[in-house]
């Protein structure tokens, strides 16, 4: 699964630390999700979409291998 978290962060000029604070997780966890090492739960994905003001589908997309 690929994601556009880094792009969305850049649009808001947020660091990983800022995003972590907004959604209530650690910076390391944001990094793990952003680099695709961890697939977040629906709740966390929805929280991210909410703070970025976009839909979940626009942040997380399935790849052909998924």
């Amino acid at each position: 699964m690929k994601n556009t978290i880094k792009v969305e962060r850049a649009k808001k000029n947020w660091t990983q630390e800022d995003l972590a604070g907004e959604i209530g997780i650690s910076r390391q966890s944001v990094n793990s999700i952003e680099t695709g090492k961890f697939i977040p739960s629906t709740t966390l994905a929805l929280k991210m979409a909410k703070v970025f003001g976009v839909s979940v589908e626009s942040i997380f997309q399935l790849e052909t291998t998924d």
Binding site: G24, I25, Q28, S29, S32, I33, K37, F38, P40, S41
Partner: protein
């Protein structure tokens, strides 16, 4: 909220240290038979109580961790438990072959191996998720 999470995590670390601080002296006191049997039994039970408190604090800390950290802890415990179970199974099966002279695999050593396996699992899982 963030401070509460940190306090809960800190609590579990403090109780792990308290457990260590009661287990090691208790082992030494019991090994060298410093006290009579009734007091020795009480000394033997103390580390069990502190370990139980540590586990309760650990479960509480687990419940306030974010989902990535929960996954890391879960995998660490699964790896630690599995490796310990495999070691115990191996020792048991070897003992059935009348091979039971394992100097490094007494009860005390097995407990140490259990902790080592947990930390191996923790390290592997942390590397896997990059946290």
């Amino acid at each position: 909220m963030e401070r509460t999470k940190k306090n809960v995590n800190l609590n579990s670390i403090i109780y792990a240290l308290v457990y260590g601080a009661t287990y090691l002296p208790a082992t030494l006191l019991l090994k060298y038979r410093v006290f009579g049997q009734p007091l020795s039994i009480i000394i033997a039970v103390i580390p069990i109580i502190t370990f139980a408190i540590f586990i309760l604090k650990f479960i509480k800390a687990f419940s306030v961790m974010d989902e990535v950290k929960q996954r890391v802890q879960l995998e660490a415990v699964v790896i630690g438990f599995s490796l310990t179970a495999m070691l115990i199974m191996l020792l048991f099966l070897l003992s059935l072959c009348d091979i039971s002279d394992f100097g490094w695999f007494g009860y005390a050593n097995l407990l140490g191996f259990c902790w080592i396996f947990y930390f191996v699992g923790w390290f592997i899982s942390k590397k896997k998720y990059g946290v």
